[in-house]
């Protein structure tokens, strides 16, 4: 038992990879065997993620090295204090992201078991899905820059193949190709940055580099390459163009997880700004760059969303807009923490708001994409101009959609409000104009979801959707889990902030803690 608990960070990657490698073999035995196998693997991997997270929150940062029994062997005496093996470093913010990936990963796998049953090529689908899950876990957990690049590439490739999965007369392939090409270029430029850091510090470990960072000209070049590659992967305006395309054409369950995968890039962006270049790069400049990207994302995302007629494309633009909130919160945190004009409280609150919003966004946006998937599954169309009157037959879907829509618009008592409140209050103290923009964006979000709600669920029963049925049970259960979490996080926000978000925010700021956790002693 102990050996399993000690090696949990390794199992985090191993279980989904095992699932991926064996799914095509086991699907020879029939659909039922494969479904059971998929459920077993996803349950185990989600449990594993949650266990790792809970151990981190209890006992502090886990440092796990591959290939040695004891951690002390990783940094031999004559290697100049550099870890020679690949290290997983899981501190509270990684734990926070792991919880998101575990919860959403479980829900979408459950959902896709029944949403995929009509389609061909299911074994390939689940294989790629598990690879995507494994790569997201890896991106979150790893403490090694090159290893991060490898997982980034797995997530781009698996994501692109899943986006293109439906083909849809070539349109889905177009979206997948755009995603693959952009993220490959992003990954390549990221690798240039890794090389630049390696050239100076002869290490690939984030903690070592953070410890030795001197901010030479090459480091600044590397910072820019990291920054834009990761900002592009998380879909910040004006690099967001791939987001609506690929979110629209992917199967809905995949879209819900692509949101998490872009948030893993977002996490890495914060890791680069706070830990890797912690205390070295000018926080005011970088903070304002992040704030400007965030404000642009919020505003352009939401205004582009309103006139859309494809429901998933509309939601995808909202994903861009909500990413803006996270960038805004963390950017304000970065800028305010360094500035002497503001108390530490403003910065920490903004940081907490931004991080809490990541979790809330993954939950309600996942829920919304899953409801859009139900509409697609039952009605065969996503065009808002053709839909109508579905509320008569799809009561549960309507309720779930309502919960998600109210949460994304920041209506209390749902979870979107709790995190937006933190962002509003701190941003207002930082710069009132930005807070006003954030509130206007929130109102526009509500307006566009009123439009969607009206045109999908309201109105008389249309003749073509006379006999539309409610979604199948597994899909309802998956949506139900997310909906319950949305409500719980909205009613008990303080508990969530205390147990998950505050440790994460402090871990993000405290880069000395991260370095000493890996290198031992300060």
């Amino acid at each position: 038992m102990d050996i399993i608990l000690d090696n949990l960070p390794g199992l985090l990657i191993a279980i989904p990879l095992l699932g991926a490698f064996l799914t095509p073999v086991l699907s020879r035995a029939g659909d039922n065997v494969r479904n059971v196998w998929v459920m077993v693997i996803t349950t185990l991997s989600s449990l594993c993620g949650l266990l790792v997270a809970s151990r981190v929150l209890e006992a502090g940062t886990i440092v796990y090295a591959f290939g040695v029994d004891t951690i002390s062997n990783v940094i031999p005496l004559d290697s100049g204090g550099i870890p020679i093996r690949i290290i997983f470093t899981i501190d509270p913010i990684n734990a926070f992201m792991l919880i998101i990936a575990a919860v959403v990963g479980f829900c979408i796998t459950l959902y896709s078991i029944s949403s995929m049953e009509k389609l061909s090529g299911k074994d390939g689908f689940f294989t790629l899905l598990f690879l995507l899950v494994a790569s997201v876990y890896g991106m979150i957990a790893t403490g090694d820059l090159f290893n991060f690049f490898v997982f980034l590439e797995i997530s781009s490739l698996a994501g692109a193949a899943l986006v293109a999965y439906r083909i849809d007369k070539g349109v889905a392939t177009e979206a997948g190709f755009k995603y693959a090409a952009l993220s490959t270029l992003g990954g390549m430029l990221f690798l240039v940055g890794v090389g630049l850091l390696y050239a100076q510090y002869n290490s690939l470990n984030m903690a070592v580099i953070a410890d030795r960072m001197q901010l030479t000209g090459l480091d600044i070049m590397a910072f820019v390459l990291f920054f834009t590659a990761l900002a592009m992967k998380c879909g910040a305006v004006p690099m967001h163009f791939w987001t609506p395309d690929s979110y629209t054409m992917a199967p809905s369950s995949v879209t819900a997880f692509l949101v998490v995968s872009s948030q893993a890039s977002l996490y890495a962006l914060f890791r680069v700004c706070f830990t890797l270049y912690g205390g070295q790069i000018n926080p005011l400049t970088v903070g304002w760059v992040i704030i400007i990207l965030g404000v642009l994302s919020m505003f352009i995302g939401v205004t582009m969303a309103i006139p859309q007629k494809d429901v998933k494309r509309l939601m995808a633009y909202h994903a861009v807009s909500q990413t803006g909130y996270m960038l805004l919160g963390v950017g304000v945190g970065l800028a305010a923490l360094s500035s002497t004009c503001f108390s530490q409280g403003v910065g920490m609150m903004a940081l907490k708001g931004g991080l809490f919003h990541i979790m809330n966004h993954a939950l309600y946006k996942g829920l919304l994409f899953l409801t859009a998937g139900v509409i697609m599954y039952r009605c065969g169309t996503r065009n808002l101009n053709q839909l109508g009157g579905l509320g008569h037959n799809m009561k549960w879907t309507m309720i779930f959609f309502m919960i998600g829509a109210l949460a994304i618009a920041g209506i209390p008592p749902f979870n979107g409000f709790a995190s937006k409140l933190l962002i509003y209050e701190s941003t207002f103290l930082f710069n009132p104009l930005i807070a006003v923009i954030a509130m206007v964006v929130s109102i526009l979000t509500l307006a566009s979801f009123v439009k969607v709600f009206h045109s999908m669920f309201m109105g008389p029963k249309l003749p073509e959707y006379q006999d539309v049925e409610e979604a199948p049970k597994p899909m309802l259960i998956a949506m139900g889990i997310l909906a319950v979490l949305v409500i719980l996080f909205g009613i008990f926000p303080q508990q969530v902030v205390d147990t998950l978000v505050t440790p994460a925010a402090f871990a993000l700021v405290d880069y000395h803690g991260y370095i000493s956790a890996v290198l031992g002693g300060a």
Binding site: E153, G170, E174, F177, A180, A181, L191, P244
Partner: protein, 114 residues
């Protein structure tokens, strides 16, 4: 300056790749541009590890000299395989796009817009 010729080659290669990506109109050519950038990055990694007057990091019967840095070579191996994999996926996607759109002109593969 002239000592840094390999790095200049890397910079020029990456720039050529970026030029191809930005200014060529054909999807295949864009993929070629990405591939050129990849080659530039791989070359960059290899060049990083070079030390004057040293041999490949293999223990043979040769008189023992200084060896070049091995880590970057291992990274390059990984990076090459990743490059091949992405290339294969992107080319097959272009095949499917061509099958349905009957074109590989990047300005015509724009069904998703607005």
């Amino acid at each position: 300056m002239i000592d840094n010729l390999p790095f200049l080659v890397v910079a020029v290669t990456i720039l050529l790749g970026l030029y191809t990506i930005l200014l060529k109109k054909d999807l295949i050519k864009i993929i070629m541009g990405i591939s050129i950038v990849e080659s530039g990055v791989n070359l960059f990694l290899i060049v990083l590890g070079y030390r004057w007057d040293s041999i490949a990091p293999i223990f043979t019967g040769a008189p023992s000299l200084a060896m070049v840095m091995p880590t970057v070579q291992a990274l390059t191996l990984t990076s090459i395989v990743i490059g091949v994999a992405t290339l294969a996926l992107m080319l097959s996607m272009v095949m499917i796009i061509f099958r349905y759109y009957k074109t590989t002109d990047v300005s015509k593969v724009t069904k998703l817009q607005g």
